[in-house]
């Protein structure tokens, strides 16, 4: 399908949409999350209200801190 030619306002709106999508994606990527994978590689998301979720994030956070501390020495 031939793309419809857009004027300067349309192009600016397109750029803004792209920028907003990038910001949304970056925010989503920064959100804490936990995934577990079975032996076939099938991924399952641990839900934030699920058992062990907070503990998993706490442990992972401490592991990252520990490496930060070691690298700072």
């Amino acid at each position: 399908m031939k793309e419809r030619r857009r004027g300067p306002i349309g192009r600016a709106a397109g750029l803004a949409e792209g920028l907003a999508a990038t910001v949304r994606r970056m925010q989503r990527e920064r959100e804490p999350r936990v995934l577990v994978y079975d032996e076939t590689g099938y991924a399952r998301l641990v839900q934030p209200d699920g058992r062990g979720y907070e503990r998993l994030l706490e442990i992972a956070g401490r592991m990252v801190e520990l490496v930060d501390e070691a690298e700072a020495v």
Partner: protein
């Protein structure tokens, strides 16, 4: 056998292979520290304890999740991502950079644990810019394996 990966070398080996790995720890089936890399001696014991706790928490979380027992875990937090992989004999946990590609890290974890358990060693591809090992002749090109690693194996074995 020369070139076999040992438990003592495994954590370091993983960090050598993966540019996005900052630290790694290997535990044996009993949960004891087998090797660590990236946290110094003082941090090793704590990193090992955290890796043990990570999989304990995974097993608790798994009770609410359908499917088989988790073999790998990925926990993304501010400042980095923690990856873990286990076999019946070993558990390898890694602290990676935030920008690390999860699929690659998880694949590398499986590959390194596979190598530790006697699987084929991981080979890195040769850069295209690397100088040729001999004169570029038609005969030499014809004898080259389309898979360089296999060709090198044959040469080493000869």
């Amino acid at each position: 056998m020369a070139g076999t990966l040992t438990p003592e070398r495994t954590a370091e080996r993983f960090c050598e292979l993966s540019a996005d790995a900052r630290a790694a720890v290997l535990l044996d089936a009993a949960g004891s520290l087998a090797s660590s890399y990236g946290v110094g001696e003082s941090g090793s014991a704590e990193l090992a304890e955290l890796a043990r706790s990570l999989f304990e928490a995974v097993d608790r979380a798994h009770r609410d999740i359908p499917g088989g027992p988790p073999e790998q875990v990925e926990a993304q937090v501010e400042g980095g991502t923690v990856y873990g992989s286990r076999t019946p004999r070993w558990t390898l946990a890694v602290v990676g950079r935030r920008a690390a590609l999860s699929s690659l890290m998880l694949m590398d974890l499986r590959a390194v644990l596979g190598e530790l358990e006697g699987g084929p060693p991981i080979r890195r591809s040769t850069a295209a810019g690397e100088p040729a090992r001999g004169p570029a002749t038609e005969e030499a090109a014809a004898s080259e394996s389309p898979v360089p690693e296999l060709g090198r194996d044959a040469e080493n074995g000869a």
